[in-house]
């Protein structure tokens, strides 16, 4: 029956109920008599009409008072990260979500695990990436954002192809940053892919993405192998404990062949789970296990009804990690219907000046497809996928 998955995935979804609505309906249900209503008496039309009118007035009053209550209790979105007075690209969360994140996760896991998928030719991920950091010198510092535009990764049985929509752009983040940059003489701003001084980029104006999150690359290397071998990805464990053991055994094996990794196992598990959900054509059971594995990381904060920069609402995973030199906040927002990531990012809030910053990925589309990149459809294929 997996052929109907596309309906679930594509047809419009609805926003979650607000807490006021849930409370009102719950109270209405549990206060009801619990017996079938009698049919109104034939002569009682006028009475019934009167009752209905009164009921409508009551419902209107309750609804209006609910709105007032919601407004007064701060249900409107509040920024959760970023500089004072400025929402970070991460988005915002609802002050009082209707349900605890753990409860929502349970439902998402059940939905993901029972998902029927149709395996297609390639696993595709469309995303936008950005980095933020501080440039300049002690006289003038300004925060910049590197917007790398949209990218599409196509993962087939023999290789991976990445296509970008345009070259990255680096610009001051706010008007204040722009003013500081202009006071500094409007030096050339360079991004993470620029070639440094050889490309005319002064070190103090080259965003080198020094956020200490390189565990992502270390953990991701594992999937450089599994993504190009579908059969291996499809055989990953469907139980969170076994999935964790699989990852730990892999890294232990790696460490035995070279110097031991200097990352914490929790950090690697975070990135392994995130890479798996974004990039790996794993089975629904494995994807559900990855969500549970991530949720079990110590001090993981799960929050429902969080909105990303594109206004998409989902369940957020937020994990704060303190080291001797750094404070890092890892975030992932998932689609509650599919378990697919909507946003993934990490922010360094404590560290050296050049290390303060963030990277983020807005995942616009992820999943199986039969569409191939143009390079793979030509007769003489310059890309193997």
């Amino acid at each position: 029956m997996s052929e109907f998955t596309v309906i679930d995935e594509m047809m419009p979804d609805v926003p979650p109920p607000n807490p006021g609505e849930v409370r009102r309906v719950r109270a209405r249900v549990l206060r009801s008599k619990g017996t079938r209503r009698r049919a109104p008496l034939k002569w009682g039309g006028a009475v019934v009409a009167g009752v209905v009118t009164v009921a409508l007035i009551v419902v209107t009053v309750v609804a209006v008072s609910g709105l007032v209550e919601n407004s007064a209790s701060g249900r409107q979105s509040a920024p959760v990260a970023g500089q004072p007075g400025e929402a970070w690209s991460w988005g915002s969360e609802t002050a009082t979500p209707a349900r605890p994140g753990a409860e929502v996760l349970k439902e998402v896991v059940r939905r993901v695990a029972s998902r029927r998928e149709t395996v297609r030719r390639v696993w595709r991920e469309e995303y936008e990436s950005f980095s933020r950091g501080w440039l300049g010198d002690e006289q003038e510092r300004y925060q910049v954002e590197e917007d790398s535009g949209g990218h599409t990764d196509w993962r087939g049985s023999v290789g991976v192809v990445t296509q970008g929509s345009r070259l990255p752009e680096v610009r001051p983040l706010t008007d204040g940053d722009k003013a500081a940059w202009e006071r500094a003489g409007s030096p050339k701003l360079c991004g993470t892919t620029d070639t440094g001084e050889a490309g005319g980029c002064a070190p103090e104006n080259n965003l080198k993405n020094e956020t200490p999150h390189s565990g992502s690359r270390y953990a991701g290397r594992m999937f450089g192998e599994t993504t190009v071998r579908f059969e291996k990805a499809r055989g990953l464990p469907k139980d969170p404990a076994r999935l964790k053991s699989y990852f730990m055994a892999h890294w232990a094996e790696q460490a035995a062949g070279s110097s031991p990794p200097w990352y914490s196992s929790d950090e690697l598990l975070w990135w392994a789970g995130v890479h798996l959900l974004r990039e790996v054509p794993a089975t629904p059971g494995t994807r559900a296990a990855a969500l549970r594995m991530l949720a079990a990381l110590p001090n993981m904060r799960l929050t429902d009804e969080v909105k990303d920069a594109m206004g998409r609402v989902g369940l957020s995973f937020e994990w704060k990690r303190e080291t001797a030199k750094h404070t890092l906040v890892y975030r992932m927002l998932i689609n509650r219907a599919t378990g697919h990531p909507l946003f993934v990012g990490v922010e360094t809030t404590k560290g050296k000046p050049k290390e303060i910053g963030s990277i983020g990925f807005l995942v616009k589309r992820v999943g199986w497809t039969d569409e191939l990149p143009k390079c793979a459809t030509r007769k003489v294929s310059p890309c193997r996928i």
Partner: protein, 178 residues
């Protein structure tokens, strides 16, 4: 703490409250994906009012509470069949890019290339009520054939034949198997 309702004791109002907490959002979402949200909220409430009234009749030996609730909701949706079809037709008429940018599912992967929300909505509008109930109980609720049969109060063979006809209609409308 996550409360897992004991389905064998629905007669207890507190236990029924746990059932409400576990399933209200899901049932509302199911109805809301088939009808306009303002109607959906009313019908979701009505679903639980009916379930509460009939909780003494629920027999855990015959199935789980979740499909039972979907059954009540599906019957209520049936009273708004024309509204549902009008909604699909409106979606089908709307400009595709705007529709797809405007709802929460716009970033969900499309499993089959070339299938748009508009075409899919148009195809769903052309299904009969019975066929659409079967397809959407499977697609949205993830119910099994047997559960769908139980929910709709029809034989398993009826579910299979409705599915077969629905598949053929969807394939004709979309040009691909979905």
């Amino acid at each position: 703490m996550i409360v897992v309702p004991d389905e064998s004791a629905l007669t207890d109002p507190e236990r029924f409250g746990a059932v409400f907490d576990s399933h209200y959002a899901e049932i509302r979402r199911y109805i809301g994906r088939r009808l306009d949200l303002d109607i959906a909220e009313d019908l979701a409430a009505e679903t639980f009012l009916i379930a509460y009234r009939r909780r003494h009749r629920f027999d855990p030996g015959r199935g789980e509470v979740r499909p039972w609730l979907y059954g009540i909701a599906t019957k209520l949706i049936g009273r708004h069949r024309r509204a549902e079809v009008r909604r699909y037709r409106a979606l089908a008429r709307a400009a595709q890019p705007d529709v797809e940018r405007g709802h929460d599912q716009r970033v969900v992967d499309r499993v089959a290339a070339g299938i748009t929300v508009g075409r899919l909505a148009g195809a769903l509008a052309r299904l009969s009520r019975g066929e659409r109930d079967v397809v959407l109980l499977i697609a949205y609720a993830g119910l099994s054939y047997l559960q769908v049969a139980e929910v709709l109060g029809v034989a398993g063979g009826t579910v299979a034949s409705r599915l077969s006809r629905a598949r053929a209609k969807l394939r004709d409308a979309l040009g691909v198997e979905i």
